[in-house]
């Protein structure tokens, strides 16, 4: 798994690639917590290059959403891969995360 973060005025874009599962989700959690810790309130998760998303990855997404909501912010998804969409739908959690076709559209949604 690789994580790349780009910060814009309105939001931070966190691009994730590879496999997000129980072996790797801790790294994603650390990166997201660091962003929230320094005051970021809106996060775009670019999940276009994620080829596997397990419930451990979902847990990180759900806890991040909760932390941001409590701080008055939000997390949205940009360009979810088919695999990401399928995991979200199977878990019934797709309704939690607004999805945008491009990173630009996702950033502009804030």
């Amino acid at each position: 798994m690789e994580i790349k973060t780009t910060e814009y005025k309105r939001a931070a874009v966190v691009s994730v690639s590879g496999r997000v599962d129980s072996a790797t989700s801790g790294e994603l959690e650390t990166a997201l917590k660091a962003l929230i810790g320094k005051g970021t309130r809106n996060i775009v998760l670019d999940l276009s290059a994620v080829d596997f998303l397990s419930s451990s990855g979902l847990r990180v997404m759900v806890t991040t959403r909760k932390a941001l909501k409590e701080a008055g912010g939000e997390v949205v998804i940009a360009q979810p891969s088919d695999r990401v969409r399928e995991t979200l739908e199977l878990a019934g959690l797709d309704v939690l995360f607004p999805s945008h076709p491009t990173r630009e559209a996702a950033v502009a949604s804030f």
């Binding site: 496999r19 599962d21 129980s22 072996a23 596997f52 397990s54 419930s55 451990s56 979902l58 847990r59 759900v62 806890t63 088919d82 695999r83 399928e86 995991t87 739908e89 199977l90 878990a91 019934g92 959690l93 309704v95 939690l96």
Partner: protein, 139 residues
């Protein structure tokens, strides 16, 4: 029917290898990509439960994985030597509350939504879980 069997050490990082193993069986069954991924996801969740909750941590045993595939059907058997534990016990509710999901139960929801048949038994010193997929994934 094609049968494959392999032993994997119970580490979280080896779940990826189990998923590849299941992917191969899914290909032999002729599953589409969505169904193939669903099987990998469900088996991966079961393995995670075995490692975390059955063995109580990484590196405390093995998982013996046996796949049987035929046209349109895959069966995956997971055997471990952890204390008696069903890694795929049915969650009380398959419909999670989206606003307050019980994050620990998401894996079980996925297993039960993907697989068509799930059997658990205790066989001597082994937990034996069989996950069977017969139909195209519809969700």
């Amino acid at each position: 029917m094609t049968l494959h069997r392999e032993t994997f050490p119970a580490y979280l990082r080896t779940i990826e290898l189990v998923c590849r193993f299941v992917g191969k069986a899914s290909d032999e069954a002729g599953f589409d990509q969505r169904t193939r991924y669903g099987c990998q996801l469900a088996v991966g969740e079961a393995c995670e439960n075995i490692i975390k909750h059955g063995y109580g941590g990484e590196g405390r045993g093995n998982i013996l994985v046996t796949t049987e595939s035929s046209a349109g059907e895959v069966s995956v058997e997971l055997r471990d030597t952890a204390p008696p534990f069903n890694p795929a016990g049915k969650p009380p509710n398959l419909d999670l509350d989206p606003e307050n999901p019980q994050v620990g139960g998401v894996g079980l929801v996925i297993i039960h939504r993907v697989m068509d048949e799930i059997y658990y038994s205790r066989d001597g010193d082994c937990n034996c879980l069989t996950l069977r997929k017969k139909n195209r994934l519809s969700i």
